[in-house]
């Protein structure tokens, strides 16, 4: 094998996610009554970007072989907080954004600290912190309301040069400014290594605790970016339990569709972003196929089942049955 084959193999998961997304999106726009217009893309982008942020947050934890079942609640909590703080003059708005992001990062760091220093299993630890974050969100917004700096919100959910959805640009910026430096840093590598084999990473003298803590913290930060965008998109804060849970579960689906291994150590946030966009497109397909409303949830479920089963095709290439077991 030469270099590019290794590189291709490294990114196979993400590339598959891109391909799945592109195919679905083409089917969607080809059948959309309005066709491929800037509006249609903007609508899809705004919806997709929210899940993309949450999925990116989930990815950071998943690569450490963890799972964050509180990510949807951090998303809600920061949304509720933003609906109080991200208003007013540019200075106040900026301050609000900083506080919201800091709170998100803090939530992530708390998860990380409990998992790393408390040595609790991530899945239960985050079920519990999820309840706490939801409680806080509910304190902030006992019922939906609040407001946001609408100028900023419109700018970030609108279009640049009338064509490019601003939210996509923001997403790309976050990938470039947060994900790429993280994944290429020593700590990012420690997070990957800890996910792949924690003992080996420890014996190799890697800074696994700091790497994992950073991963959890950045995960909270990115979830908060999602919460911020939710506020921009809806102009309000809403502590909706069901919606927080839905985002958590969707983020897991997106991460898997994006080729990130739930066993840790493998995959990238870029794959997860496309996984999220693909997952969202499943929902969009409802528009273009004239389905009986009662059949829609079943249709969505079946497409999801089919999409994840695609991964099983690789099974037929396995010649050594031991490879089934990791």
């Amino acid at each position: 094998m030469n270099d590019w084959q290794y590189r291709l193999a490294e990114h196979r998961g993400a590339l598959t996610a891109v391909a799945v997304f592109v195919v679905m999106f083409i089917i969607y726009t080809a059948n959309h009554p309005a066709g491929l217009t800037a509006n249609v893309i903007q609508t899809a982008a705004n919806k997709g970007v929210l899940l993309a942020f949450v999925a990116m947050a989930q990815t950071m934890v998943v690569i450490t072989a963890g799972i964050d079942l509180s990510v949807g609640m951090i998303f809600l909590l920061t949304n509720c907080l933003a609906s109080w703080l991200v208003v007013g003059s540019p200075l106040e708005t900026t301050f609000g954004i900083v506080v919201v992001l800091a709170v998100g990062a803090l939530c992530g760091a708390i998860n990380g600290a409990i998992v790393i220093y408390g040595r609790l299993q991530p899945i239960v630890a985050t079920i519990a912190t999820g309840a706490i974050y939801f409680g806080l969100a509910l304190l902030l917004r006992p019922f939906p309301g609040g407001s946001v700096n609408e100028g900023l919100a419109d700018a970030l959910t609108g279009r640049i040069f009338g064509i490019v959805p601003a939210s996509l640009v923001a997403l790309a910026a976050v990938v470039v400014l947060i994900w790429v430096p993280f994944s290429r840093s020593v700590y990012g590598r420690a997070a990957y290594a800890a996910g792949s084999s924690e003992t080996a990473a420890y014996m190799s003298g890697m800074p696994i605790r700091r790497g994992k803590l950073l991963a959890y913290t950045l995960s909270g930060l990115v979830a908060a970016l999602g919460g911020l965008f939710l506020t921009f998109f809806t102009y309000t804060g809403d502590a909706a339990f069901a919606s927080g849970n839905a985002y958590t579960l969707f983020s897991i689906a997106a991460v898997v569709l994006g080729g990130v291994s739930l066993f840790g150590g493998k995959g990238s946030a870029i794959g997860a972003v496309f996984g999220a966009l693909a997952f969202r497109t499943i929902g969009d397909l409802l528009f273009v196929f004239d389905l009986d409303p009662l059949w829609q949830p079943l249709f969505q479920g079946l497409i999801l089942l089919a999409a994840i089963s695609l991964g099983a095709l690789a099974l037929f290439r396995v010649r050594n049955r031991l490879e089934w077991f990791l």
Partner: protein, 513 residues
Amino acid sequence: MENGGPLFRMEGISKRYGGVRALENAGLSVRAGAIHAVLGENGAGKSTLIKIMAGVVAADDGQMTLGGQPVKFASPAAANAAGIACVFQELSLIPELSVADNIVISNPPTRFGMIDRKAQRRLAEEALARAGAADIHPLALVKDLPLSRKQIVEIAKALARKPRILILDEATSALTAADVSKVFAVLKRLRAEGLALVYISHRMNEIAELADDCTVFRNGSKVASYAAGSKSDGEVIEMMIGREYHSVYPAKPSRLAQTAPVLETRNLSWADRLHDISFSLRSGEIVGLGGLDGQGQRDLLLALFGVLRGLRGTILIDGSPISISSPAQARRRGVGMALIPEDRKTEGLMLPMTVRDNLSLASLDRLTRGGIIDSAKEESAVNQMMTLLAIKAGNIDAPVGALSGGNQQKVVIAKWLMRQPRIVLLNDPTRGIDVGTKQEIYLLLRRLADAGAAILFYSTDYAELIGCCDRVLVLYDGAVKRELVGAEITERALIASALNIPSAEPTHQEPAQ
């Protein structure tokens, strides 16, 4: 560099694991420019000692000095920083990362806070070249490499740290002679460059070739330190095991009964790894698989055991063709196959489960009636096996992970013997096992054969093949290149055929078809 005085010294080191005393007032002193061999039975405390040295484990008691200064390592990273690099017995590679990532892992080159991939690649290539493994692609994922290659990468990784003290804990256990000699060349060069090396191995010939100083451990304490060559192998072994020691290998039967083959393969091929393998295996004989590591020996064992898909050719049991598509089928009545797998920690045992649970796992079908375990039957079967193989465990309900490596390996073997298999496949079963235990295993194999079992035995250790086997099939590139019988099995013949070069000694025997 301090001349004469020890570079690193540890004294009065004690370490307990719960009730288990791993080290008691142990010590070691290593000097620059020398290779220090540490010997001892399984569980003697060698690994624990070097783990303390490398900052992986904290000692309960004792002092360490480096270049005369007292030191304490809070973590492997701290030991690294002090110039101590370690190749651990349980590999410390990250499976999902590439070879290059792994090699520079503890101190990657960075630019603007991000890892500089070009520089990393360069460093990795250098380190691989130094370890004599320039053929390993730096972008390959570690998990895709065979164990022997992983060990080399592990060595390259240690080298890339430019250590002052390099520790190798059974670092060559999975390597074949060819690889070992490459590694030895590297180690000798490092010694010449003034490094201090600590070398742990159960292979006496390696120690004879490399060591300048030796220290023997038994039961967690130092028994003796001496200059290499000042004691005979016999003396050393007696120090290690604390009793008298006789020839390692049991006598082979002079003449094998020509019974019908129990297992036969015809033109067995798989993917591009196995090519037209045909051989037969009779009851009562021990047939070795030789050759360089990675020439398809493991694949052959797995193929016979029903693990590989898409197998071509025929497998015959007692003369009739049979299809085996899972270990469950391989072990069933009428076939009676058993496989002692390569890696006991991931393929042979459930470390946290008890000795009892592990031992009965392969025989659950026989120990249950209507799905319910017959406890009395289980307990007697388990105790019988513990006695038969002299497994040292506090209690049959102790977790198997708390046994020493050698005893763990015995558990893996015992678990299959419980089924009284007719065909036993062994995948390098003595790797990292001390001489005493090895000897017990050799005896056991011969006893099994005498009792009518047919044994197919892969080993990376030529001496073992020579000592134990009635016949040896030498594999090269997935095909049987040569069959050596009886007196033909010599180190020279093995190496020559392993390298697929025409043997210096002509044989009358046709190579296996």
